[in-house]
Assembly symmetry: C2
Homo-oligomer: 478 residues x 2
């Protein structure tokens, strides 16, 4: 997956701006739009200068304002536009005059309105920018989150980089992917919200990710099929080289109508898209939850040595449903061998059926019993993966001893077992219903992913994500 | 659904104990088992006497202990057993001597171990109890939660009664159903965990729910098919009269093996069970999440006047996925009529596409705009249901004004709109990732259900639950 290369991908400059100007910042400090971008860039610590363009204000958030882009005394290579649509043509002229290389149009109100005049304006703007050598992101989008460049599209996006790339036609969905991925340990190389995709489109960014060594896993939210043949080529090439997970908005007629309203997208046939994903060895998912879950599985479980799962955790009913969920997802929950059961019997008070697999014993409640149970499961010759399920702020375990300390010890044991035996350990943490449990669960989740473990909010979602990972492996390793 | 009756269902006495004895309480105050039942009964405020049976202790948790059941000076009609399996035969003799009517065997270690001797012991115990006129719940189960009788199986179960009945072969799954249902407004008539079902079985409890006027909606978690023909009759009869939602553990071979280990259940054929559910007009679901979601839909959305949904909430990408989810679940997201769009255009800054449906406008951020937008959607002649989606502790809304106050106003408006227009309003509240958002979301959720609204943690789950409700209606109203 990517060797040593010296040449940078063609679009690399898009992700590494040196100086940013933001046009259309409200004098109010916070909020959505221009002000939000200022806040986000300051928060993540963009190292280059940020110039604000404002007709009257002297300074906003401590940054000097200029009446027009042309008045900025330094070079500017990247411009974020939050001005009204009708003011964009002038801004493009100013960008050309300043030698700007990338124009991010947060500005909306173009083709997606369904108004032909506004669609024509969008085409004219992008044509003018392109002929002057300026690449356009958008319009109608949130732009870029590139931790390594200290570039953020929303507040709360951390500077710590990672190996997951994401391209999204929706700013909100890009934001949700990041937001829900962060507490589960996903970190990002480049996240792109490209909206109407009038110039730079999904195909451009997927082609970029193909060559980008910082990106090991790619997730995408696409509403429309733009430049179909090129997009298909990009998906096929990328799907062959890196894990590629695709969420298609507009997979129904109603969704397709909504997609057209949202980003002027023509959704295309789901059957064609689905066929393309299959052929490309890409993983197609149906929800934001599945998109995040799959990225977590690729990032942390990485590769399953086989389909056989040991299920470990408290609760007979949960054990039964876990076995069902795993089997329904294409995995196996084999009975443990007699010698494994004999070893487990030595470390637990329960005899018989609770150590066959699923394993549901009170030995899990004590530190030594927990370690021994997990180790024996990992040593079992007919087990490839361990699924541990737990919850916080509920059940008898919450009433015994120090739940917080026990959770920290458990996370350590789980990480050590994965490391030592080379068998993925995945953790399902049931949603908590009270604040204490919520905070304990968050703490445990962080300890787990920092230890290299895949975490999921339900057993069902863990099983489905493992199933998708396994199917992906079978397709790519055959 | 149940008229005025004077006769009580035959098993009514099981749910209305007058005096309880608990055998096998640990001298330690808290925990699982006997001590847990004492704690639960004291917490919920069981009004009758609770007698503890303990060989040596004088009192536990303020309750006087007796060396044996026979030494209890008063009448006892209900006994909870937490003694070891080998001590149960003596306890049964004591129950017979005391004239006990119901024996709840929390005690495990019988047929579910796979040991033939232990299975024989279970059969002998139950036979002896039955011939003496004692009904047995269990063994290997958590027993009953009956708020109106102030009877709880776990700590944290409130005394407020409701109209949802639940029967579960797993104590944990009964507990999870209650736990996850409570913050979404579910309240319960009777919840039963019956474990191995050696005497009283699913069929008994479903027959009871058929006649029980306090129970309007029934949820069930079943692992095995015991007394098949009678169970099938009970499901058919109940399914015809009340909403019946069934989660089948052991729907795969792996799950079936786990079910056998858990409650000695023979899972039977899923195809047969599925066919039975269809024929009975019962709703079959595949996870605990779906079981709770469906109960919430029946309890709060109650009846959809039709399949046409207006989607309201922030975010273009979320809107597209919402439309997809609803359409995939069998609902419709029709474009609003020109007159409805004209009315919406008057209350929002956005023109064009964000008011077609889904509706995604900044007017939702202000109290008046929110009220007007919801009202106009509810007035729309081609809309039957409104789905509002939101989140807390994230996004631009969390940065404007007082999020808590706005949420309270929104909940009030949503409830009023449902009430006034007779169209169900359902609310999807995205999971929060920080404590502040978590607490705000919980507060908003409670305001919503107290106002009579169905709440769901994701748009996908809301859509799927509405789809199941709609299919149920179509089957029962045709």
């Amino acid at each position: 997956m990517g060797g040593i290369r010296t040449a940078k991908p063609e679009l690399d400059f898009v992700f590494h701006p040196q100086a940013i100007a933001i046009a259309g910042v409200s004098a109010k400090e916070q909020g959505f739009g221009g002000g939000g971008f200022v806040q986000s860039l300051q928060e993540i610590g963009f190292p280059g200068p940020i110039f604000l363009i404002h007709p009257t204000a002297r300074a906003i958030r401590g940054l000097k304002c200029y009446r027009s882009l042309r008045e900025v005394p330094d070079d500017v290579d990247y411009v974020i536009s939050s001005v009204p649509a009708r003011a964009v043509p002038q801004l493009v002229e100013d960008c050309i005059a300043k030698g700007v290389r990338v124009l991010h149009l947060f500005t909306a109100g173009f083709t997606e309105t369904g108004d032909e005049e506004r669609a024509a304006l969008e085409r004219a703007i992008v044509e003018r920018a392109k002929e002057a050598g300026i690449r356009v992101i958008g319009p109608n989008c949130m732009g870029l989150y590139v931790p390594a460049s200290r570039l953020a599209m929303m507040p709360g996006q951390p500077p710590e980089p990672g190996d997951v790339g994401m391209v999204s036609q929706s700013g909100m969905n890009a934001g949700e992917f990041v937001r829900y991925g962060l507490p589960r340990g996903l970190r990002f190389s480049k996240v792109v919200s490209f909206g109407n995709g009038s110039d730079l489109k999904a195909a451009d960014f997927l082609e970029y990710f193909l060559e980008d060594d910082e990106t090991r896993i790619v997730a995408a939210y696409l509403e429309g099929i733009q430049d179909g043949p090129r997009l298909a080529r990009a998906i096929r090439a990328l799907g062959a080289r890196k894990p590629l997970i695709l969420l298609k908005g507009g997979r129904t007629e109603a969704g397709s109508r909504a997609a057209h309203s949202h980003t002027a997208s023509l959704a295309g046939s789901l059957a064609v898209f689905d066929g393309l994903c299959k052929q490309a060895g890409a993983v197609r998912v149906d929800s934001m939850e599945e998109l995040v879950d799959s990225a977590v599985a690729f990032r942390f479980a990485r590769r399953l040595p086989g389909p056989r799962v040991a299920v470990v955790g408290a609760g007979g009913g949960a054990s039964v449903l876990a076995a069902d969920d795993l089997a329904a997802a294409g995995l196996e929950v084999p009975p443990l061998l007699p010698e494994t059961q004999a070893a487990l019997a030595k470390v637990t008070a329960e005899a018989g059926t609770s150590i066959r697999n699923p394993i549901d014993t009170t030995s899990l409640w004590e530190t030594e019993g927990f370690e021994a149970t997990l180790r024996i499961c990992a040593e079992a010759p007919n087990i490839d993966v361990i699924l541990y399920h737990t919850g916080f702020g509920m059940g008898p375990m919450s009433r015994f001893g120090d739940a917080r300390k026990r959770a920290a010890q458990q996370a350590e044991v789980l990480a050590q077992v994965q490391e030592r035996f080379g068998k993925p350990v995945v953790v399902a943490i049931r949603p908590s219903l009270n604040t204490e449990g919520f905070e304990q669960a968050n703490e445990f989740q962080e300890l787990c992913w920092r230890g290299g473990l895949a975490t999921f909010p339900t057993i069902t979602r863990a099983a489905q994500a493992l199933g998708r990972l396994l199917r992906w492996q079978r397709q790519h390793e055959s």
